[in-house]
Subunit: 156 residues, 2 copies
């Protein structure tokens, strides 16, 4: 990893805590789930990190507040994913706060293999979903686009 500071996201794209909590309430109601201290702590961690967070990195640092065992952390992060407040990034085995909070289901993540920065970008949802529908009888639940490469800063 290059050792430079990651750019904070433009404020317009960062979900405010208020927005996040409103979404949490709404979706908890819809899904019969509860908004708990663990989940709020997990969300705070993701928002503070402003980038991908790996479960076992959390465990080996001092960050936790109640999140002290793998199962606990996985449960909290997965709950956030279910609630639409986080992504799981399979190609990194990591979780990240979701910025485009309810606008589109599909997400496009640009993962820099040099520095580890991940940008969340509004996806070309219509074109992508149209293409999927055109090709099959597949009923799409989730679409994840993980693009790997090298970010502008690393190439500068």
């Amino acid at each position: 990893m290059k050792n430079h500071m990651h750019h904070p996201l433009p404020n317009a794209l960062r979900p405010s805590l208020a927005e996040a909590l409103a979404l949490a309430d709404r979706r908890c109601a819809e899904l019969g789930r509860r908004w708990t201290v663990s989940r709020q702590r997990a969300l705070e961690i993701l928002l503070e990190a402003n980038g991908p967070v790996k479960v076992y990195d959390l465990l080996s640092s001092f960050k936790p507040g109640g999140l002290t065992a793998p199962a606990t952390i996985y449960r909290a992060f997965e709950a956030l994913v279910d609630l639409g407040m986080a992504h799981r990034i399979d190609s990194l085995n990591a979780y990240m706060a979701r910025h485009f909070i309810d606008k589109a289901q599909a997400t496009l993540l640009l993962v820099c293999d040099q520095c580890g920065r991940v940008d969340e970008v509004a996806p070309p949802t219509p074109a992508l979903l149209t293409a999927i529908k055109a090709h099959s009888t597949f009923l799409t639940e989730t679409v994840a686009v993980e693009a790997h490469g090298c970010c502008g800063d690393c190439r500068a």
Copy 2:
């Protein structure tokens, strides 16, 4: 997993062994790699499976022919990925033969969460790549689209 037979791919999309070996030769030359028995065996396994293959499933079955340890199998599969002859599917921790052999770098995979079937679909490459370029200075190396949901057969 539902217990039905998976559909063979239309023959037009299945790479013939001849095509695959031609590609292997060409790309080995380009990359200074070698086409080995292990890699050919790995490719045969993927083509026979006609779907995603998990490393430790291979180990616990009797399939191997020389591929008997994790490191060996991972090396062979990763070599196939480098050569453009296979995909790694991060959301499944699995490998699969690549059908669209050199047409497009980006791939769109439709993963049925019910039966495990994975269809490889020609992606809307231009739209997707254009969107990526429009959004950043990111230099894209690979784009993987993994759509999860439910295939037509499972819903029938």
